[in-house]
């Protein structure tokens, strides 16, 4: 067992001697065999104590140990002349013997590079001589040593007969362990399951829940007769009476239709093509749908024809559903995002929830608290179940509505025994409901939505499952609330738009009536047209939810002018805020009116070129807007500045930055303003 702290440094030069450098595979196999023997940390047993007594006596040493080497320590099943029941792996000399097929004899530990620095050598108890025989299991895996140790060096080592005895005794240790493995079993199957579970955990399915890990059933199918020999656990898993043999077809027929084809059947077993490792679902008599993981091997006759299929089955429902639930929650988030209809949302959620549970039904219902009724909104149901009727009275099915009204979840594992439903159980059973979860989904403290999941069998709901259902309910509720808020906002926008336009119409009516005596009608008309321009800009803002693109504003002018093909417009997509949009709408109107009266649009061949660009070279980005007329009469500056000219001079957002030109080929204007100001919300 020596093997010292400083050995780690030596090991850097001599890696082959380093305990920690043992091949991983050997270590795994060693640990698996140790687990299979179920020997570690057991109390002393006389059979093993006798062996170390004999070994010490025969070899004439004060110390003898049965040392079992784990990953980080060596533990002594039996010892004589040595106090500790274990030491750290760094102090283990035995670990060195694991790799040698025969006895490892070190006559003087102070002279051997592997052990010279071991603290058991350099410090008390100052051990000097070591001889160890590896404990090798039937598969050739060494799990430790039977060793003898002395505090004085022995240049002569062990005599041949001592060596023979030590080796024989080491085989005896293994024989005892093997015997122990078989004879000490209270339940042989249980032992086998435990041994296998180590493999399963390591290699097959890391998500198997710990409490299920031991629950493995075994089977053996005679391929010629199709008779299957099954263990009691197999029968428990498949929910059938525990008898030794069955016709294999019984179990084939239990596989749910959508999973058929991935399990084995009489024909693919006969030709050897049956898949060996599969997961599938079965529908059991009283436990509903369960997930099965099956591993098997084929046994062949001397002609290479398969004669037997031998394997294990395990109920992996819990682990599988945990994974499915996580997946379902992820899927729900993805799919709700794309939906714009409350009924569709509830349907998607019901579908995902029902499948994650392999439930009889899952769905959402609208609750009328006063009438104590439930109206099914969306529902998923299994192929074997019928859809629920549209409307239900809670009281017809029990008294649990009281809990729901208090906002409490109702989780029933068996409607026949629960006091809330025992008297009305027949009404529920008639709907294939044996167990269920009803969760009130509260919206601002009001209970008007219910999420439910049904099973047609007794089912113990876990807290995790209930909180899963709750998160489904909450997420659907949140998505619905968001959708509702958006719908309400859109309605509100339309309503505001409608009122605003009616207000404009009222102003128009008042102005028309007030200005009726005015003889210069063109002033009245100018007022009216500016009012339209403002009203149009508001239209765009309301329609596009508070912003308006420059393109839309310019196109709206084009539309109002109703002179197709006369305006050539181009520029990047820029969305203006309300103030910028209204102001630009008015400026566009003035420019358009002037062009029609005096400019390019007063002549049939005249056109207007409109461009806008963003210049972000300066301190803050600027929007520059160009208006160039051509093909009209030669322009001249206005003689007096009317309201229209003033509006144009104020520029895009009332801050100026306007350059006008009356040179050929026609009137032009260039307007610049801060993009940030144009885009501000207010």
């Amino acid at each position: 067992m020596p093997g010292l702290l400083s050995l780690r440094r030596d090991a850097l030069r001599q890696p082959e001697t380093n305990v920690t450098n043992l091949p991983d595979l050997d270590q795994i196999r060693r640990l698996e065999l140790l687990e299979a023997y179920d020997i570690l940390n057991t109390p002393p047993e006389p059979e093993f104590d006798d062996i170390v007594l004999v070994a010490a006596e025969v070899c004439g040493t004060p110390v003898s140990l049965v040392s079992l080497v784990e990953a980080d320590r060596q533990w002594f099943k039996a010892s004589v002349g040595f106090e500790p029941c274990e030491t750290p792996i760094e102090q283990s000399v035995c670990a060195h013997s694991l790799t040698s097929p025969d006895l490892l004899i070190i006559p003087d530990l102070t002279l051997d590079p592997r052990t010279a620095q071991n603290t058991l050598v350099t410090e008390p108890p100052h051990i000097r001589f070591y001889a160890g025989a590896p404990l090798v299991g039937p598969d050739g895996v060494a799990i430790g040593t039977l060793c003898v140790i002395d505090t004085t060096p022995r240049p002569e080592g062990l005599t041949p007969s001592q060596q023979k005895v030590l080796t024989a005794l080491s085989r005896q240790v293994i024989a005892l362990l093997e015997h122990r493995r078989t004879s000490h079993r209270k339940d042989e199957l249980f032992r086998r399951q435990k041994g296998m579970s180590a493999n399963f955990r390591a290699t097959v399915n890391k998500t198997i829940a710990a409490q299920e890990a031991g629950r493995i059933g075994t089977f053996e199918i005679d391929i010629t007769t199709n008779v299957i020999a099954v263990s009691a656990e197999f029968c428990r898993i498949f929910d059938v009476p525990a008898v030794p043999t069955y016709d294999a077809k019984i179990f084939q027929d239990m596989v749910v239709p959508s999973d058929r084809g991935i399990h084995s059947n009489d024909s693919n077993r006969a030709d050897g093509s049956a898949p060996m490792n599969v997961e599938y679902r079965i529908r059991t008599a009283t436990h509903g749908v369960r997930w099965i993981s099956r591993h098997a091997v084929l046994e062949h006759d001397e002609n290479g024809r398969p004669v037997k299929m031998i394997g294990t089955v395990q109920d992996i429902t819990e682990a599988k559903r945990t994974v499915l639930r996580t997946q379902a929650l992820l899927d729900l988030g993805d799919r709700l995002r794309d939906l714009e209809d409350i009924a569709d949302m509830a349907l998607v959620a019901s579908d995902l929830m029902g499948k994650a549970f392999d439930a009889t039904r899952a769905g959402f219902g609208l609750v009328d608290q006063a009438a104590e009724t439930l109206t099914i909104q969306s529902e998923w149901h299994s192929v074997d179940a019928d859809a629920l009727a549209l409307k239900h009275h809670f009281r017809s099915y029990g008294s649990y509505i009281e809990d729901l009204k208090r906002g409490e979840p109702v989780v029933l594992s068996d409607v026949k025994t629960d006091p809330r439903t025992a008297d009305t159980a027949d009404a529920l059973l008639a709907l294939d409901i044996r167990s269920f979860v009803n969760l009130p989904v509260l919206d601002h403290g009001r209970f008007n939505l219910l999420v439910y999941v049904h099973h047609d069998h007794v089912y113990d709901w876990t807290d995790e499952e209930v909180s899963f259902i709750r998160s489904f309910g909450d997420r659907v509720q949140m998505a619905m609330a968001k959708l509702q808020a958006e719908t309400e906002q859109a309605t509100l926008n339309r309503e505001i738009g409608h009122r605003l336009k009616n207000t404009f119409a009222m102003i128009q009516a008042i102005a028309t009536q007030t200005l009726r005596p005015v003889t210069e009608r063109n002033h009245v008309q100018n007022f009216e047209k500016r009012l339209f321009a403002l009203s149009k800009a508001h239209d765009i803002l309301i329609h596009d939810h508070g912003g308006a693109s420059i393109r839309t504003i310019v196109e709206s002018l084009d539309e109002t002018l109703a002179m197709p093909g006369r305006i050539d417009l181009d520029g990047p997509d820029v969305v203006l805020g309300p103030r910028g949009a209204l102001s630009m709408g008015l400026v566009m109107h003035e420019l358009g009116t002037n062009a029609m009266k005096y400019g390019a649009l007063s002549q049939p061949q005249g056109i207007i070129t409109i461009r806008w660009v963003i210049d972000d070279g300066g301190q803050e980005p600027q929007l520059t807007f160009y208006w160039q007329e051509s093909g009209g009469p030669l322009p001249k500056p206005p003689e007096r500045k009317g309201f229209g000219s003033k509006l144009i001079q104020m520029g895009l957002i009332g801050t100026g930055g306007v350059v006008t030109s009356y040179e050929a080929p026609g009137f032009s204007v260039e307007m610049s303003a801060s993009l940030q100001q144009l885009q501000q919300a207010h």
């Binding site: 339309r494 738009g497 409608h498 009122r499 605003l500 336009k501 009616n502 404009f504 119409a505 009222m506 102003i507 128009q508 009516a509 008042i510 028309t512 009536q513 009726r516 008309q525 009216e528 047209k529 009012l531 339209f532 009203s535 239209d539 309301i542 329609h543």
Partner: protein, 127 residues
């Protein structure tokens, strides 16, 4: 609520609008355009008038009005019962899709351009 006595050979326009100021403006618009005018403050009243008079050529109606029907239903009823009568619809709703308007009717969003409405009245009167 008929106010002016119809004059022979003049086109009669029925203005339907529940808001008095706006109705007043519409009436002036029609009169300024040179037509005769009849007023109604609801679609129901408009139907009664149409049932009792045969000289109405054009109906100029708002959409949102109290009563058993709105301007769109009125337009549909006119298309159904008095197919020759022309219909102009106006409303504060920004965009009236063509689907909701009966065939042959013309829509102006409020506030409307009096020049354009006048032009439309003249066009309808000429056909």
């Amino acid at each position: 609520m008929a106010q002016s006595t119809p004059i022979k050979n003049r086109i009669v326009v029925l203005v339907v609008e529940d808001e008095p100021l706006q109705r007043m403006m519409a009436v002036d618009l029609v009169l300024d355009a040179g037509f005769d005018v009849v007023e109604a403050w609801s679609a129901d009243e408009a139907v009664t008038i149409l049932e009792n008079r045969t000289d109405i050529r054009i109906v100029f109606t708002d959409v949102d009005m109290p009563g058993s029907m709105d301007g769109l239903k009125l337009a549909a009823a006119i298309r159904d019962r008095w197919p020759p009568i022309e219909v102009i619809v106006t409303s504060g709703h920004a965009r009236m899709s063509d689907v909701t308007l009966p065939v042959g009717s013309v829509f102006f969003p409020k506030p409307y351009d009096t020049e354009k409405v006048t032009a439309q009245l003249n066009l309808m009167a000429a056909t």
